[in-house]
Symmetry: C2
Subunit: 255 residues, 2 copies
């Protein structure tokens, strides 16, 4: 068995944010598999390269397809947005490996890391992840809303900076508003909130506001939401958007 | 004032993990500033480019130096390991901006994101960050050990995957052992623990073990420690290191 499978993170959007290692893994593949919008970001590198674009949101099916191809001796790149290990395709591939035929465990499976959305979003406004932080997906497709609430409460009480992935979608329009309402019971209304849409793309949109005033309807599935800790601050600038950063040290009277 | 300052993440080690955007920012700079070992990773790109290597661990001094140069009209790249916004130079630069002369706020200051150590470490073993996770620096140089303990307890109780940066150093050799002891009071001894030294470099070393058996003396300042959630699993392989991943869905009876 000489097939290989690499789960490749293509970064947040701009090609300049994709690592050379990720580009090389894509260039060497015989088969590219991915959700259409991610596949569209990468060029076909040689004439024999086959593209398996999918509008299929069922990650496990895509993972099994990729593993089957690798098992047939193909060199497969699973194309994933951001970093493949953060709310993306890598965990689905390993879940399929564990549940699949034993020979899949012998495949040469690698992960090529990338710049995940939260890092790109933070960089767009300054350094809001400058202290301890956590990343929570608000999607309750695979976990209960009770678990999500518990994690939000714990993160707020322990004064982490919080990055929210998958803040809402058409199928679940109310999660982000509920998350903000919950956080307002624990954190002061002056808490800095940043919403960055399409971070690290050519089409970025930034909103810098507070927990007391944030409007969840301004977010969509391409938005990364950052909620500051007590040490997250704004630096005002004349005629320009403020810088946002989190002090590395603690703040007197911080939660 | 036409100077610029870009805080550039050079990634975890291998040049292939540095984004083209980061490489371009470094190539265009008139001045490179950074802690020696990070500066050593990037080549001088043109004859006039000045390198300000530093063995100075005081990040704020380096930040002020960079801002002064930019203020004099230079094009400065602050070279930072991993992602500059995660336990690295970006927050120090903005802290210096806030405390410094008002004209520093008018400078064109940008952050070029990079692959942070936790993403590279996760990719080395599979997809351990596949669920909600948090990142905590164990350094108590700038925050109290009480705060660190509180965050570890909150993260464990809410069943986050936990990434520990700066696990220990010669000056503080006991933090990691104390963190493991604390986590053992909350999480089962079978919890998966991964220690990856020099992730994303040519010289990586991986330890895959459990919270019950982990030896903190096997870590150093270049080690990234990952502590699994109840959904973090191993996939055994014949004659090879197991894959480690975190299920995207919840586990029955999980904490």
């Amino acid at each position: 068995m000489t097939g290989t499978l690499t789960i490749v993170g293509v970064g947040p959007g701009r090609p300049e944010l994709m690592t050379p290692a990720a580009s090389a893994a894509i260039a060497e593949a015989t088969d590219l598999i991915g959700y259409g919008p991610y596949l569209d970001r990468v060029a076909t590198s040689h004439p024999g390269q086959i593209r398996h674009a999918s509008d299929n949101r069922v990650e496990l099916d895509r993972a099994r397809h990729a593993l089957s191809l690798a098992s047939d001796g193909r060199h497969v790149a699973v194309v994933s947005g951001g970093d493949p290990g953060v709310f993306a395709m890598a965990a689905a591939v390993f879940e399929a490996v564990e549940a699949g035929p034993l020979e899949w465990r012998d495949l040469d499976i690698r992960v090529e890391p990338g710049v995940t959305a939260m890092l790109a979003a933070a960089a767009e406004v300054g350094a809001p992840l400058g202290g301890d932080f956590c990343a929570i997906s608000l999607s309750d497709n695979l976990k209960s809303w009770t678990t999500i609430r518990r994690r939000l409460e714990a993160a707020a009480a322990a004064d982490f900076v919080i990055a929210l992935y998958n803040p809402l979608s058409k199928a679940r329009p109310h999660q982000l508003g509920e998350a903000f309402a919950l956080l307002r019971q624990i954190k002061p209304p002056s808490t800095v909130v940043v919403m960055v849409r399409a971070a690290g793309s050519g089409d970025v949109r930034r909103i810098i506001t507070t927990l007391g005033e944030v409007d969840p309807d301004k977010a969509d599935m391409r938005t990364l939401v950052l909620i500051g800790s007590t040490a997250t601050r704004l630096i005002a600038r004349d005629g320009k958007s403020p810088f946002v950063y989190t002090l590395r040290r603690e703040v007197e009277g911080g939660a």
